[in-house]
């Protein structure tokens, strides 16, 4: 039963990804931008232009280009079916390896931010729900609305100004590590994990130090919707009939609270998944401010340079990860709520 559900979701996910790839492929090619001109410059000769166009494969018919990209013409160039995302038109490196370099930074940033938010936000949301209408609750509620409306890039800049420039407790926003430090050998690609695996404790601490402000910035913005949702779901659970009945039966308060929390967490899973997926692509602004070198920044460079293979690759990878995250959360949801049949 479970295996069948997972298989079905994965199957649907793959179909969705294929639709996505084809959709993105056509959309970007149907838009008026000219990547060839971007590459060779405005004053290139017609021959140089034609040569560049041929090199990029843009002189072929659209459907042929798609077929090549998907991997149906492996002799010309490896494609998706062969597990290749192509090569960047700007750097000539394989998109896959570039993504492997940049993605871990974003995942680290987003995951740490989520962990921080969940540790802090869930108790705060619960606190609000336990005394609805009271002063704490009003404060919690207004905070959640406020935090959720904030431009995270601006708060990042503000934090840099306050904590770096004014107070000097945070490092300069110049990257994941200070420019002086040698990064550890890339075993997993994750800076934090690699430094630990190689026993480079000081590098580990420095990496955390550099992540501090970006994580706090993202966590601040995420705390808005998450606190709002936890509070709302908790309120709903506390007002539900079964909690009232548990009171009628005379169950002890702590037991009632425990089950109310469980009932509140279940529907929260979906939103957390959506926010995670959103942040994977949306962390670009924070990455930009702190020069972290994550996949968002990579995507921005590619978009501004009309680097089609990179754009396609990034969209594909981020969506694929989002779908996996949704699946994992849905499974977790089904595990705690017996009404969901999987």
């Amino acid at each position: 039963m479970l295996v069948r559900y997972i298989a079905k979701r994965l199957g649907l996910g793959i179909l969705q990804l294929i639709g996505l790839v084809i959709g993105v492929f056509f959309i970007i090619r149907l838009l008026p931008a000219d990547p060839v001109a971007r590459l060779v410059g405005m004053n290139a000769s017609p021959q140089a232009y034609a040569q560049a166009a041929h090199q990029l494969g843009l002189d072929r018919p659209l459907l042929t280009q798609l077929a090549i990209y998907l991997g149906f013409e492996p002799s010309v160039q490896p494609g998706l079916l062969q597990g290749s995302l192509g090569a960047s038109w700007v750097t000539d490196s394989l998109v896959m390896s570039e993504i492997a370099q940049y993605l871990p930074v974003t995942i680290t940033l987003v995951t740490l931010s989520f962990l921080l938010v969940l540790i802090v936000a869930v108790p705060i949301g619960m606190l609000g729900a336990l005394n609805p209408g009271g002063r704490t609750d009003k404060g919690v509620f207004i905070y959640s609305l406020f935090a959720g409306s904030q431009p995270e890039f601006w708060w990042g800049l503000l934090f840099v100004y306050i904590f770096f420039f004014r107070l000097g407790i945070a490092p300069a926003p110049l990257g994941s590590l200070s420019p002086m430090t040698d990064p550890p050998a890339p075993i997993t690609g994750f800076l934090l994990i690699d430094s630990l695996l190689e026993g480079q404790w000081s590098v580990f601490v420095e990496a955390l130090d550099h992540l501090m402000l970006p994580v706090v910035t993202l966590a601040f913005v995420l705390s808005g919707p998450i606190i709002k949702m936890v509070r709302q779901n908790m309120l709903r659970a506390l007002r539900s009939d079964f909690v009232l009945y548990a009171d009628c039966v005379g169950l002890p308060r702590d037991i009632i609270a425990r089950y109310a929390l469980r009932a509140a967490m279940a529907p929260s899973m979906t939103l957390i998944g959506i926010l995670y997926g959103f942040m994977l692509g949306g962390a670009v602004l924070v990455e930009n401010v702190f020069s972290l070198g994550g996949i968002g920044q990579y995507a921005v460079r590619a978009v501004l340079a009309f680097d089609y293979p990179v754009i396609q690759g990034v969209v594909l990878v981020i969506t694929a990860i989002s779908l996996l995250v949704y699946l994992a959360l849905d499974l977790f949801h089904a595990a705690i709520d017996p009404r969901i049949i999987v």
């Binding site: 539900s240 009628c248 039966v249 009932a263 709520d337």
Partner: protein, 620 residues
């Protein structure tokens, strides 16, 4: 004044009542300051071992009062004042912890919507266990044994299996039994039962109430039974309290209440019962002539998800309705009666059979013709709150059919709208209102007015009285009778409320699992039901007659076991698995509808052969 004294008398006499409520008031704040008080100065008393009924309309504050007696109020309500004496102590003066001890251990409660009262994430065995452990020290094994014991006590035969179930896996009746198991697990002295059987089928209801009765006899608990249904009160209660305007307006022993109600409100509640007690059938006989509606061999199936199988909702149903006649269609959930009603109007497309209306085959009509025909063929749905567009005024609602089927001028339509309102007994000033804020009875009348707009000849009434209070029901039945007499409309009256059927219908057909099992005049069927299912249905029906109480004259349950699944129906008679008279011949071949000597038709060869005893249902 009289009741306060009764409560005080009970206290002073020394036979101290178990529960004595004095001047209980619960308020709900409304925006703009101020409070509404659904419970306003309520006083009542319940003695040990008594079963007391608390009667009142929907929205009269019954449930609020029940919760308040436990010291609880649904947010944002608050208990404003009053005293609730239980075994000598005032609950409202106690600390929260003391109250928590009393709840569950001394006073148990079961509520109206059992599935939502159960924790959706825990198995019911665990919930019973939690309730038990909250008030008793016990090991895990002892708790488990107790849970099984409670389930057995409430009539569940295979508790080892049921104990593992989740709330959403249980039927309504099962869930309610689980609630009783929880409520009585610590043998409380008082059980408050708040509308415990609303939504349950007739036979399940009777079964459940019988079991509840037995259980409280065994545990010696007193019961405060909160309900709208006079039948329940008559058959199970010793004493009756009437709740109106937030307080108790009458307190009488049950026989006295039904014989000679004192308060004007009680009299209004009992009106229908008192006026029409001994009558059967609609007052005005139908006209003769060509049948208005003829249904032959109607079939409707529904596909089952992820399966090639189908649900046989309606299985070759044949009926005839004459002009000015009311045919009742009764049965429990799954009988197909609602589906028949919808098929007659082609709101569902039948899968087989023929339907003719005033001689014309309506299944052959194209879309446009069918739409035009709808002026003549109308339906009134069950839920009055849901069947009217909440954003439209009543006027707009009533003129919609006029816009669809006539070319009347604005002035004519306005006149017709006012006319319709008066026809159904409503003040035409209500035309400018929206449905919100009107009571169920008024809304149901609006529904009828809308159906009447284009002068229909036939109206299907789908459970029109189910959500109405007893006096709204009485008013509606009266209205239907009057309209039939004045306008000559035929009705198909679909209902599970046998009392309404008794007063409204000329003839009645009993349905079971998609088939008609018996059909005849209302008097014949209600007085002398022949088919075993009709017998079971009628014996389970709680007639509001305290002189012949069900608990004093217990009848062995006529049907055993569970209803077979409508997906896998047996070859022979569908009732055979539950019928006490079933023999090999019954199971072997499908049963056909055969005429009996007295003019009715029955689907049972044993009945036709005279092999089934027919109880003469005792006159009320």
């Amino acid at each position: 004044m009289k009741l306060e004294r009764a409560a005080i008398d009970a206290i002073s006499i020394g036979a101290r009542p178990l529960l004595a409520v004095e001047e209980l008031t619960v308020g709900y704040p409304v925006d703009g300051g101020g409070m509404i008080r659904p419970v306003d100065g309520l006083s009542l008393a319940v003695r040990r071992g008594e079963i007391v009924g608390l009667v009142g309309d929907a929205g009269s504050g019954k449930s609020t009062a029940a919760l308040a007696m436990l010291g609880l109020a649904r947010r944002p309500g608050r208990i404003l004042s009053g005293r609730v004496h239980f075994a000598g102590r005032d609950l409202l003066e106690m600390s929260a912890d003391e109250l928590r001890n009393i709840r569950g251990r001394e006073i148990g409660i079961i509520v109206q919507n059992p599935r939502s009262a159960l924790n959706p994430m825990l198995r019911i065995g665990r919930q019973i266990g939690l309730a038990y452990r909250a008030h008793n020290r016990a090991t895990d094994e002892e708790t488990r044994q107790r849970a099984l014991e409670m389930l057995r006590m409430v009539g569940i035969n295979d508790p080892e299996r049921r104990v593992e179930a989740y709330a959403h896996e249980l039927s309504g009746g099962m869930a309610q039994r689980a609630l009783i198991a929880i409520a009585l697990s610590s043998r409380p002295k008082l059980l408050i039962a708040d509308e415990p059987t609303s939504g349950l089928d007739v036979t399940i209801q009777a079964q459940f109430l019988d079991e509840m009765w037995q259980t409280v006899q065994a545990t010696g608990s007193a019961v405060l039974l909160v309900t709208q249904e006079l039948g329940i009160v008559a058959n199970y209660c010793d004493r009756v309290l009437v709740l109106h305007d937030g307080r108790v307006v009458e307190d009488a022993l049950v026989e006295q209440f039904f014989e000679a109600p004192q308060h004007a409100y009680s009299q209004a509640v009992l009106r229908l019962h008192r006026e029409r007690r001994l009558t059967f059938g609609a007052t005005f006989p139908p006209r003769n002539g060509t049948p208005m509606v003829e249904v032959r061999g109607l079939i409707k199936t529904f596909p089952v998800r992820n399966s090639a199988k189908v649900v046989q909702a309606v299985d070759r149903v044949t009926l005839t309705i004459r002009p000015g006649e009311t045919l009742g269609l009764v049965g429990e959930s799954g009988s197909g009666k609602t589906t028949v009603g919808r098929c007659l109007l082609r709101l569902l497309q039948p899968d087989g059979g023929a339907i003719s209306f005033e001689g014309a085959d309506i299944l052959a009509f194209g879309d446009a013709d069918m739409r035009r025909q709808r002026a003549k063929l109308q339906i009134v749905l069950q839920d009055p709150f849901d069947s009217l567009n909440p954003r439209w005024t009543i006027r707009k609602i009533l003129t919609e059919p006029l816009n669809l089927h006539t070319r009347q001028s604005r002035a004519d339509k306005a006149r017709r709208a006012a006319e319709l309102m008066q026809l159904v007994g409503l003040d035409p000033a209500l035309l400018e209102r929206r449905p919100r804020g009107l009571g169920a009875g008024a809304l149901q009348r609006v529904n009828i007015a809308r159906a009447l707009a284009c002068n229909p000849s036939f109206i299907v009434l789908d459970e029109p009285t189910s959500v109405l209070s007893p006096q709204a029901r009485a008013g509606l039945i009266e209205l239907l009778g009057r309209l039939q007499k004045e306008l000559g409309i035929s009705y198909l009256f679909i209902s599970h409320d046998l009392t309404s059927v008794q007063y409204v219908c000329h003839r009645v057909a009993v349905m079971y699992l998609g088939q008609i099992v018996e059909e005849g005049s209302v008097e014949e069927i209600f007085r002398r039901p022949r088919h075993p299912y009709s017998q079971a249905l009628l014996s389970a029906h709680l007639f509001p007659d305290p002189s012949h109480r069900r608990v004093d004259n217990p009848v062995a349950p006529a049907l055993q076991g569970e209803i077979p699944s409508p997906i896998d129906l047996p070859v022979g008679c569908y009732l055979a698995s539950r019928c006490p008279y079933a023999n090999a011949a019954c199971r072997a071949a499908p049963q056909r509808l055969e005429p009996c000597a007295d003019g009715r038709v029955v689907r049972c060869h044993r009945v036709v052969a005279g092999e089934i005893p027919v109880p003469e249902r005792i006159e009320e």
